[in-house]
Symmetry: C2
Subunit: 309 residues, 2 copies
């Protein structure tokens, strides 16, 4: 991977040791990076688990200690915790180092983090679009980022620092693309945040519907609903923070969603089959586009085995 | 499969030759059934394709001809077409034969079909809960029903005829369970119909959102949304009919859904993170139940490879 030669950071600090950070470490190992990785997590239990798993070369008891001499500091904590952490580590950052975050929301994170960072420190926000419904230090795996997108939101960061971090993520297996802050938050509301909220809602409805026993909902969970339950098992803290911090875009897309849903609901009530048929026909197109883009497989076993191209 | 010995019908007629019927034929072949299968589809093009594929032992040009001397007649047409077809074939049905349908909705189908059927013909409605986003005679495959549920809604049909059809479906690889009509329609609205409508809606929103180019929605389609697009590529005619014919249950569940969604939307607007956290934590439980029921896998690669247990 010649384009990833500039990837190497001498010392890397991972702040937060959940699914994302632990996967970063395992992917760095797989890529043969020689960086020395120091890790910190707020909870002593998480730090103990990390030590037991051999996660990072060194686990320390404070964020301040973790970032000491680090050339790259990655904030991998829930979006709501980014600001306080940035404030705590700021005085201990090495001049010229790069600070990055992996939050699913960018504007709020930038607003919360940048004011604390001293002159001469490069802040390069990122958003690796990868995850599972599992969380914690033992949930990570080296291939999590393979062929997934890692969006880079430089927002004015120096080109050299940005290019180096981009190469770092490519070395972890990810595809990278730069994006404007506001646009990032809107795109993610559409392709990720609102779909997650909807899935959470549908599972919640099924869960407390008394005339359909949970047992039946589970037993007969068909494709569609079963996928929803998978999405709705994602980390509650992370997602609470996503919605708290991407409020504007989320509410805007939710508004559009309910507007559309009511139109379809009305068509069902009034028996307007043509409207439904036309709508369902139109949505087939975007699916075809995704298949052509190689973002998913066309295997004829919807809701069962799904294999990445 | 000793429990499936009573499965054998001498002559079987498949009315409609789409994904469901063609998969029934291939599964019958795989099971080594010796029934003679006659097929009919309204469209001449579909009949030609069926002949080319070797689908059924005989393809005929009318439903009346197809059901002649048949011991089992399976109506595999969109829900809205069940009544007219039943009316057309009724005078040609063999006394004592079993008529069944594979509609995703049961009350409306029963109301549309039963009045046409003569005395002495057994009507045993079923609902195989399996499918893909593909449709047509060439979309079928022998393993579609393996380990999937086929709900049997006898609604007063003779026990012997019901047991025989149940054995038939088990021989095709399906698990079977008997259910009351109204309860079936409600359960399916929850685990299948409304989730599909929601997915169609979300994809529709993304599709006509101008500031997010389709290209980006496709390129960055993350887990969650990508699953939605898969669901939203299902057969428009079939789904139009499902919603037209399961109106009551669909609207009831949709009402509950929007009620819940608005509660979460309000929490986002007002910044009530605790409500969101508690809600998201609760939905994790139902997911655990599905895993315990072996209805899905716990593979740590959400949105990517999904393997059936």
């Amino acid at each position: 991977m010649s384009e990833t030669q500039p990837q190497n950071y001498g010392r890397v600090a991972l702040i937060g040791l959940g699914l994302i950070a632990s996967s970063i470490f395992w992917a760095m190992k797989r890529a043969g990076m020689e960086s020395h990785v120091t890790g910190y997590a707020r909870s002593a239990e998480t730090r103990e688990t990390a030590k037991r798993l051999g996660l990072c070369h060194e686990i320390v008891d404070s964020a301040e200690e973790a970032v000491k001499d680090a050339d790259l500091v990655i904030l991998a904590v829930p979006v709501g915790a980014m600001g306080p952490i940035a404030e705590a580590i700021a005085p201990h950052l090495k001049p010229g180092c790069t600070v990055s975050d992996v939050g699913s929301v960018k504007q709020e994170v930038i607003d919360a983090v940048r004011p604390h960072l001293p002159e001469g420190v490069n802040f390069v926000p990122t958003h690796p679009m990868a995850g599972t419904e599992h969380s914690g230090p033992d949930a990570g795996f080296a291939s999590l980022y393979d062929n997934r997108w890692c969006l880079i939101v430089p927002d004015g960061a120096p080109e050299e620092a940005t290019a180096k971090l981009e190469a770092f993520w490519q070395a972890l297996g990810a595809r990278t693309e730069q994006m404007e802050v506001e646009h990032h938050d809107l795109v993610c509301a559409v392709v990720s945040h609102v779909p997650h909220l909807i899935a959470y809602t549908m599972v919640g409805v099924a869960d407390d519907l008394r005339r359909v026993s949970d047992q039946e909902v589970i037993k007969f969970s068909a494709a569609g609903f079963r996928d929803f339950t998978r999405i709705a098992a994602s980390d509650p803290t992370m997602w609470r923070d996503v919605f708290m911090n991407n409020k504007q875009a989320t509410l805007e897309i939710l508004g559009r969603f309910t507007e559309e849903l009511f139109a379809l609901q009305r068509a069902i009530r009034t028996g307007d089959g043509q409207l439904l048929f036309d709508y369902f026909t139109r949505t087939r197109e975007i699916r075809r586009g995704i298949l052509q883009a190689g973002q998913d497989t066309d295997a004829p076993d919807f809701g069962r085995v799904k294999v990445e191209k």
